[in-house]
Symmetry: C2
């Protein structure tokens, strides 16, 4: 099923995405933020959260009224280190970009800053927001709920919690930054969609059916037939840890904003929790960044199992992919390019990627 | 191998532990803190981190000069939301108790507070410190490094990172509080010691040997023969997530304090990172706590797999154990009681548990 891919320049892709968003009413600055988030995901090889979702999720979401392109975003400072945001059902990208900037501003003054966001929508690839803290010599964190339950708690086979991802970034000096971006389930839901598309079975340990038996046919995972397992998978291999992390994120996002966790039937919405820690409040920044370099280098000189070329900490592989794609372009599926160009034409946007 | 257990009153156990610590030079207030931490672990069924380690780890550690019973503890406020502590190689319990109180004080004013601790020693059961935040209507967090590497990164079979636990607590109203306390490895090292004592094999997925093959005989895990696997265990089941969490904790503890992560050969020490978030800065406290109650109740009415009686979020099972043991005493192994009483006699402490 090898499909044709064409290398596309990242800057051109940003431009087209921004123009299309502007054409459906997104203000210029927000359109540029969102375009950069999506293209950065593709640059880093996180294709599931890249430009592929622009039309299906966001352009359509705006045109069908689910997403408000020009929301009233209310930011309320509530303490030296805290603020809350009502996202007005706008694009999660634009709302969370503001939230992270507010957290960075608070951390610049108080040493740490945290912002909760309610009435938002999907914010895409979680790594982008904590990475905004890096150039400020801060550690960044972003948590988001997934308001639709897809994960079964240990002891049940009924979906009750979201895949609730956790993202953290910390700067280095000459090396790549640490960038952890992980679902708290064994896998994110996108992996099932990918397996269905590729007509491949899934490994035992990703999901169970309504009787608690492992699912290996990805089509068998349905809202009324079991669900994804929390990270750890089984009691003896740590499933209570993955479940605990998932619930923790519902607490920091849904409950701390007054929305409702995924297990509830009502009042649910997409909510986020972002924060920044100013490294200089704890230790000289150079000491921190140089230690990060040394740690990254120490991992990569460990003895390696046969076939292993590099040992990266989180973010290392993605940084390598990003460097290559910034130089040579992003290898997009031809059908993704076609969708983008067809949408441009429909929206009256004149811009060609290739 | 059923061994005799005797029920011991928690308050009596606190008293004896405090007296023994005072006898080796620990100030009264610190001795009471440490006694309460250890006994609370036993009350909550976390026996590996309870009173069993008082003599072997701490009384002996003080008598052999590894732990300073009367350290000079320096607290430096560095921002409205931040402080750093030099623990002076004192008892991790007493140092972290002060750190958490400082974080709570900062959060009371700024909305959030974070304190790093260097030159500390083992702080025992991680859940205790975030739980200190509960009565202040705050969410608490505590991270600690394990300076001795015991966990292998994916791609290698050489131990490089600690089991680095993460602990978070959040209050409810009428229900039990959320208390997550987890190693970022599949299991903590104590589970191997327990299996050796009980002469039982360990499940495949806990550890690998130097060739990458699963270890099922707990005696085969040695510093030069592989190590514990990060949570997730295998690439297709999320091992990069567990490894990422472990490294994240080295960053927040060892690197953010200017100490060194476990992979380094030198400058290593035990370091912590604790924090508190004041719920009232984000949402009315009652709304938060009532939502926590509703969430806990919603989990427990989910359909259950055969043999499952209750579905708890993190901390629920421990709260149930605690209620029973507070009423009926802690079932301690007779040999643990004997060791405590023999040590009392050696130290000139006159106090009988039973």
């Amino acid at each position: 099923m090898a499909e044709e891919r064409i290398r596309v320049d990242a800057q051109k892709l940003r431009k087209l995405a921004a123009l299309e968003l502007q054409a459906v009413g997104v203000p210029e600055q927000d359109s540029e933020v969102m375009a950069d988030v999506l293209v950065t995901a593709d640059l880093r090889g996180v294709e599931t959260h890249g430009i592929v979702s622009l039309v299906a999720f966001y352009i359509n979401g705006i045109q069908e009224g689910r997403i408000n392109p020009k929301p009233e975003i209310k930011i309320t400072e509530t303490g030296a280190a805290t603020a809350t945001i009502d996202g007005g059902h706008g694009l999660g990208y634009a709302v969370t970009y503001r939230a992270m900037n507010k957290a960075i501003e608070l951390a610049g003054k108080a040493g740490a800053g945290f912002v909760t966001v309610k009435n938002s929508t999907h914010y895409g690839p979680g790594f982008y927001y904590p990475m905004m803290a890096l150039e400020h010599d801060m550690i960044g964190i972003a948590l988001t709920n997934s308001p639709v339950p897809e994960v079964v708690p240990p002891g049940s086979t009924k979906i009750a919690v979201g895949t609730n991802p956790l993202s953290v970034a910390a700067p280095s000096n000459k090396q790549y930054p640490f960038v952890l971006d992980m679902a708290t389930a064994v896998v994110a839901a996108g992996k099932f969609r990918k397996a269905i598309l590729e007509e491949k079975p899934i490994p035992e340990g990703w999901a169970i059916d309504k009787n608690g038996k492992p699912i290996t046919d990805p089509n068998q995972r349905k809202p009324d037939n079991g669900g994804i397992l929390p990270l750890g998978g089984k009691p003896e291999l740590g499933v209570f840890k993955g479940f605990g992390l998932g619930v923790m994120i519902d607490i920091f996002t849904a409950i701390l904003t007054g929305s409702a966790p995924a297990i509830f039937q009502k009042e649910k919405g997409t909510c986020h929790f972002v924060g920044a820690f100013n490294i200089g409040n704890f230790i000289p920044v150079d000491t921190f960044k140089n230690r990060m370099d040394e740690m990254i280098e120490a991992y990569n000189v460990l003895p390696k199992l046969p076939g292993v070329k590099d040992i990266y900490i989180a973010g290392g592989y993605e940084a390598k992919v990003q460097a290559e794609r910034e130089a040579n372009g992003i290898p997009l599926l031809k059908k993704v390019i076609d969708t983008l160009q067809e949408t441009a034409e429909k929206l009256g946007v004149e811009y060609s990627l290739v």
